[in-house]
């Protein structure tokens, strides 16, 4: 992945401590960071704390970023590590707040959606969110990065510092688990089946 010149310039400026350049640089990444943090932590407060912490880590470590991986992968790694640290530190099983997941991440894309259809899709998403949340941490991390953020196995391997084989196995088992969870709720997902 070729880093844009603008990014390189912003990274250079931010590494010298320019907070404004850093904000410009991270504007493109903050949404993804938050999404990862929310999926990993399962609630808004923790996700916000994790993003804040991860941003500071990125800011502090910026002058050590030498471009050996893509900047975006590097940011994912720091975000994911921050979340995993946070989960371990608090020893709290990431428990999902139904409200949070219902609220988050939903924007109607189909304007012709009927209210019923809209409501159904919201419920499906919330159920999917809960299903993700019920996965073990390492599996969840791999699934989030692969299925929600579309990273390649190599990128995920780099983010999680785990070899590709292990990542494949985690994703395969993760998919199977999610599918089973979906299968177990035919009243919600059955109607969507074609």
């Amino acid at each position: 992945m070729q880093m844009a010149d603008e990014d390189r310039l912003l990274i250079h400026e931010a590494a010298r401590g320019d907070a404004y350049a850093f904000e410009q640089l991270m504007r493109r990444h903050e949404g993804r960071m938050y999404a990862v943090a929310l999926r990993m932590c399962g609630n808004r407060e923790d996700a916000q704390d994790c993003v804040q912490d991860a941003m500071l880590r990125v800011y502090r470590a910026l002058d050590h970023f030498k471009g050996q991986s893509s900047f975006s992968t590097w940011v994912y790694r720091i975000t994911m590590n921050t979340c995993l640290d946070e989960l371990r530190r608090r020893k709290v099983r990431a428990s999902s707040s139904l409200d949070t997941l219902l609220e988050s991440g939903w924007s109607p894309t189909d304007e012709e959606d009927t209210p019923e259809r809209h409501a159904l899709r919201s419920e499906q998403k919330a159920a999917l969110g809960r299903a993700i949340n019920d996965l073990p941490e390492d599996m969840r991390a791999a699934i989030v990065l692969r299925e929600l953020h579309g990273l390649s196995y190599e990128e995920i391997s780099s983010v999680l510092s785990v070899n590709v084989g292990t990542i494949k196995s985690r994703i395969s088992r993760g998919r199977e688990k999610l599918r089973q969870l979906i299968e177990s709720q035919p009243e919600l997902f059955g109607r969507e089946k074609v």
Binding site: Y34, V51, Q52, L56, L148, S172, V194
Partner: protein
């Protein structure tokens, strides 16, 4: 059975299919099986639907404004803190270095002024100061004379007034100093014996009157000509001018005034001053004299008690030797006294056709720079040497100071940390 095998194969490769990692023929094969086997077809459909939903799940998710605000302000705080700490870091480094230098310089100054140096070191310094022959060629007429410098340094040394006055006694006494009197007090304190000499070159257009003025100056200063000769011939006789060469012995206490007054005789164009410290030699000689006198007295006693003639002759022979040595040493001492009391000034008075511009006085800029630089180097060298000595001298105290500073630092740090929390 065949169907089961195919289904198993299908399920094993379903992830690779979903991840688009299969070849075209493998994909085709998978799709063909999904079309023929309803269960596997359903499975694939479920996976594909699920993946589509997952991909769509957070697609439009954006960070909530409060979260965006939160990380921005914490990064700005961090940025401020970093700037402040880098400023503080610099200040701290500069203050630390300045403090260390101040402590080092302070310790050296305290060491130089307050703490007693070994006596031998102190006298060695003064001696070297006085003994060094100072040559001030041509221009440097307004110097501090070595004797004056020696006196100053001794006065500054503290408790040296007695020494100075003792030195004065030696210098002022007219005749040879009574060696026994000196040897008594010499054990209490050694008075420096300094031999001063100077040479001057003077030019004048009016040779005769210059000579007269010089004679008047010599007579008026209680000095005398030890040697004088005139050579050369007048300009009127077609000569190159006359030259008076003279050695004048001047009472040492009046030397400075005499040298200063030479400018009344003519234009002083060259000047050299020397001061030699012969104290060691002087007092060693005196000690030898006392020993010899004591021996002479013992021999005198033996002579009166001598029983036979051969003893007497032997004793008288010995006494003759001792007396000879005493005479030689007294001569040497009186020579030194004479040279200490009467400084020797070599004067060359040249007759010149034109009054030559009084050479001198101002050294060139280059010379001044060179002299100033050399003086500074010498000062810095002395100071650094003293600093080294001071550091070594104070080092035993560090055994106490370092743990104390360490404890204070640890306490301050822990207080600060608590405060920060």
């Amino acid at each position: 059975m065949v169907e089961n095998l195919e289904c198993r194969r299908f399920r094993n490769r379903i992830d690779a299919y979903l991840d688009n990692e299969l070849s075209a023929s493998e994909r085709e094969e998978m799709q063909r099986h999904a079309g023929t086997c309803p269960e596997c077809g359903q499975l694939l459909k479920e996976y594909e639907d699920m993946r589509a939903m997952l991909a769509d799940l957070d697609r439009d998710m954006d960070i909530p404004p409060e979260a965006a605000q939160a990380w921005r302000s914490s990064v700005r705080d961090e940025c401020e803190r970093r700037r402040a700490s880098s400023r503080f870091g610099w200040t701290k480094a500069v203050v630390s270095v300045a403090a260390a230098v101040a402590v080092l310089v302070g310790a050296t100054v305290v060491f130089r002024n307050g703490m007693e140096r070994p006596a031998s070191y102190k006298s060695a310094r003064n001696t070297s100061y006085m003994a060094g022959s100072a040559s001030y060629d041509d221009y440097d007429l307004e110097f501090e004379t070595p004797l004056a410098m020696a006196a100053t340094s001794m006065d500054a040394g503290g408790g040296a007034n007695a020494t100075a006055s003792a030195r004065k006694t030696i210098l002022e006494s007219d005749g040879p100093v009574d060696p026994s009197a000196v040897s008594d007090s010499a054990t209490a304190m050694r008075k420096p014996v300094i031999l001063r000499s100077a040479s001057r070159t003077v030019q004048s257009t009016e040779f005769e009157s210059a000579v007269e003025r010089l004679e008047a100056l010599v007579n008026g200063s209680s000095a005398w000509f030890e040697y004088r000769s005139v050579s050369g011939s007048t300009f009127a006789d077609g000569g190159l001018g006359r030259t008076l060469s003279a050695t004048v012995r001047v009472p040492s206490e009046g030397l400075d005034a005499f040298l200063a007054s030479l400018t009344d005789v003519g234009a002083v164009t060259a000047a050299t001053d020397r001061a030699e410290d012969v104290s060691d030699r002087y007092y060693d000689t005196q000690t030898r004299l006392s020993t010899l006198r004591a021996e002479y007295e013992r021999l005198t006693d033996l002579v009166t008690d001598a029983a036979d003639l051969s003893d007497l002759l032997l004793l008288e022979d010995k006494m003759y030797d001792v007396q000879y040595q005493i005479d030689a040493i007294e001569g040497e001492l009186s020579g030194l006294d004479s040279r200490a009391n009467y400084s020797s000034v070599s004067i060359t008075l040249d007759e010149v056709r034109e009054y030559v511009e009084p050479v001198v006085v101002d050294p060139t800029l280059g010379e001044r720079i060179a002299k100033g630089f050399a003086d500074s180097i010498a000062w810095v060298r002395d100071f650094l040497q003293d600093m080294l000595v001071a550091v070594v001298a104070f080092s035993p105290a560090l055994v106490v100071i370092i743990p104390a500073v360490l404890i204070i630092w640890l306490v301050v740090r822990s207080i600060r940390r608590k405060h920060r929390k």
